[in-house]
């Protein structure tokens, strides 16, 4: 059985977002479905997507290879993507990357033997005010990562072991209104937080 066989309502929903004669637009959302369910996109899945959008597997792979968040080889249950661009680098992302690879004993393209972790260097994740950070799989951001916070996160992921994730504890570093006055919330250790007062 192929990936989309029993997911026809989902395919129909994705196709409905684009004009009827423009099925090709659905290539990215379809790739995303496969990537998230299987951790990578196989050749067979590319062929299946090609059939849905009435194109060829080569065209699908061409699009897939353009973007950094689709993978053609398997990734871990926790795919750790570390932002390396300047605002993060100025908060130590290079050291964090080295530490992560050493601690997990893997490099780019590897998966830990237990299938839990893989790592990737990525460019600006748009979280420059809460650097350094990493994104885990196709899910949320884990920000303001000190060595202590990173270790705690890795321990949490290992304890879960199933790809599930804890909630992020860092909120938007923005103005908050309190009694009509505009203030910005800062925690004691200097991490910006927002959220309800």
């Amino acid at each position: 059985m192929s990936f989309f066989t029993n997911k026809q309502p989902l395919v129909a929903d994705i196709l409905s977002r684009y004009p009827a004669n423009r099925k090709r637009s659905a290539v990215m959302p379809l790739l995303r479905e496969v990537q998230n369910a299987e951790g990578y996109v196989s050749d067979a899945a590319c062929a299946e997507i090609a059939a849905i959008i009435e194109s060829t597997a080569t065209e699908v792979k061409s699009v897939m290879s353009f973007y950094s968040t689709y993978s053609s080889s398997p990734t871990g249950k926790y795919h750790l993507q570390v932002c390396m661009t300047l605002s993060c680098a100025l908060q130590g992302s290079d050291q964090m990357w080295d530490y992560l690879c050493e601690t997990l004993d893997i490099g780019v393209g590897d998966v830990t033997p237990d299938g839990l972790f893989s790592v990737q260097k990525v460019e600006c994740l748009g979280s420059c005010g809460t650097a350094p950070l990493m994104q885990v799989s196709d899910s949320g951001y884990y920000e303001c990562l000190t060595k202590k916070r990173l270790n705690a996160l890795l321990a949490d992921f290992k304890a879960r072991g199933d790809g599930s994730l804890p909630e992020s504890d860092v909120k938007a570093p923005v103005f908050i209104q309190k009694n009509g006055d505009v203030v910005q919330q800062i925690t004691a250790d200097g991490m910006p937080v927002g959220g309800a007062l």
């Binding site: 990215m28 973007y67 300047l86 050291q95 600006c124 060595k147 938007a172 103005f175 910005q184």
Partner: protein
């Protein structure tokens, strides 16, 4: 000697708001960001959401364009082109479907203003979409959100579902008898998708290479139909203008740069964050009053994302009012408002290598000067310099490369790399020459900055 009747004093025009400390200033774009449940329709409706869209839909498209032009709104994605004028380029009565595309592919290093707006106030963006779609006679709008903004995409999808169920979107949007639909399209990790024609290719399921202009999007955009691409904050601002009026918007800012603006700071600063302030606020107020000041000596800053040429960290620059014209007069751009502080004790060559690597990685590969010039040549020279194997000639080769890459490519990505690097070399040439000559950087604070706790 007689004098005529004493001159009647002209009614004094209230002074424009150019500081966040002005008691008349109130944040609007980020008014609800960070509040509990701010992303729900219930919260949004309690706070006046969709009142602006109702006002817009009750009028003609031209009336919206005129109001937005009168307000003086300029594109908030970085280029600063007047939004109302852009909308007026769309054809009338051509019988073709029109499309509004919201550019939410926020990937410019140092820029993170759209993210929190979409996560915390998706209904404000949807309201803006309704305003913009009516202004350009579109029935369908797409929000192209970068793939990594998952919370934002989820919140937007939830907001669309709520709005559709409430009749705000759909066949009879807000009861005006017009079909209006908004869809979210997630990107997948490519900076180039922020370029509007590359974004259109990506949305069509192609590789995101930029397209040649003309034809401009207003003639042939997505699916070959007339389209307009606007930044998230431009679209949200249009909603606010319809809600609070053009005069409210133009009461803030300088002569040609009107309105409220999302400045945001990263790098070594006490309170990195997004600060909604009027245009015309001084960089000193942004960095010191709101950002809390640098946490270490600073030598320069990028005023609006990594692509904007650096400004030296001097009193003259700090006292400059941040607007489009003042930045242009100093050879840079207001850009996205994403200020990146460049610390004194970090080697500029290492920091610029970080930028070069970024642009090399993000080059789409279409044009040779960008693909090879940045991705290969500049990368290799910088690698050579930072690994201590440079020689004095490398600085001259780099300068030669600047001239052969800048302005020689299809889109602005190549220029966006050269501009900051060139500005860094102009300001800190001694650091480039030092590392080329001595095989080690003049400042050594770059590599050791990660905090244990």
């Amino acid at each position: 000697m007689t004098t005529a009747v004493a001159e009647v004093a002209a009614p004094e025009k209230p002074k424009s708001i150019v500081s966040g400390l002005d008691p008349r200033f109130k944040p609007r774009l980020y008014e609800h960001v960070g509040q509990a449940n701010s992303w729900t329709l219930e919260y949004a409706l309690k706070n006046g959401a969709y009142e602006g869209a109702k006002r817009a839909l009750a009028g003609t498209p031209e009336a919206i364009q005129d109001e937005v032009k009168k307000a003086g709104l300029r594109g908030r994605g970085g280029a600063g082109f007047p939004t109302g004028v852009k909308w007026s380029f769309m054809p009338k009565e051509d019988g073709k479907p029109h499309y509004l595309v919201c550019n939410a592919d926020e990937s410019e290093p140092g820029t993170y203003k759209d993210r929190y707006l979409m996560e915390s106030d998706p209904h404000q963006l949807l309201e803006g979409m309704l305003v913009g779609m009516h202004a350009i006679r579109a029935n369908v709008g797409y929000i192209y959100i970068r793939g990594e903004y998952i919370l934002g995409a989820n919140r937007l999808n939830a907001a669309i579902a709520e709005a559709r169920a409430a009749g705000i979107l759909g066949e009879n949007a807000l009861g005006f008898g017009k079909s209006m639909e908004v869809y979210v399209h997630r990107g997948a990790g490519a900076y180039i998708c922020g370029e509007e024609t590359a974004l259109m290719n990506s949305l069509e399921g192609l590789r995101a290479n930029p397209r040649l202009k003309p034809p401009f999007p207003a003639q042939a955009g997505i699916f070959g139909m007339p389209s307009t691409v606007n930044n998230v904050v431009s679209i949200a601002s249009a909603a606010l203008i319809m809600r609070h009026g053009a005069d409210w918007f133009s009461s803030m800012g300088t002569e040609k740069s009107k309105g409220n603006f999302l400045f945001h700071i990263s790098g070594p600063v006490k309170r990195p964050g997004v600060y909604e302030l009027p245009l015309g606020t001084t960089y000193r107020e942004i960095i010191y009053t709101w950002g809390g000041g640098p946490t270490e000596p600073i030598k320069a800053f990028n005023p609006g994302g990594s692509s904007t040429p650096m400004l030296p960290f001097t009193d003259e620059i700090l006292d400059m009012q941040a607007d489009y014209e003042n930045c242009a007069s100093k050879g840079t751009f207001l850009g996205t408002g994403g200020i990146i502080l460049i610390p004194q004790n970090c080697d500029i060559v290492n920091m610029m290598y970080n930028y070069v690597r970024f642009y090399g990685h993000e080059s789409c590969g279409k044009c040779t000067p960008c693909r090879e010039g940045i991705g290969t040549w500049m990368n290799r020279i910088f690698q050579k310099l930072v690994s201590g194997k440079g020689d004095p000639n490398d600085v001259k080769i780099l300068e030669d490369l600047f001239g052969n890459i800048k302005g020689k490519s299809f889109c602005l990505l190549a220029d966006s790399c050269i501009m900051p690097v060139q500005s860094a070399m102009k300001l800190f040439r001694d650091e480039f020459e030092y590392i080329a000559q001595h095989g080690k950087p003049m400042y050594t604070g770059y590599g050791n900055r990660w905090k244990d706790e």
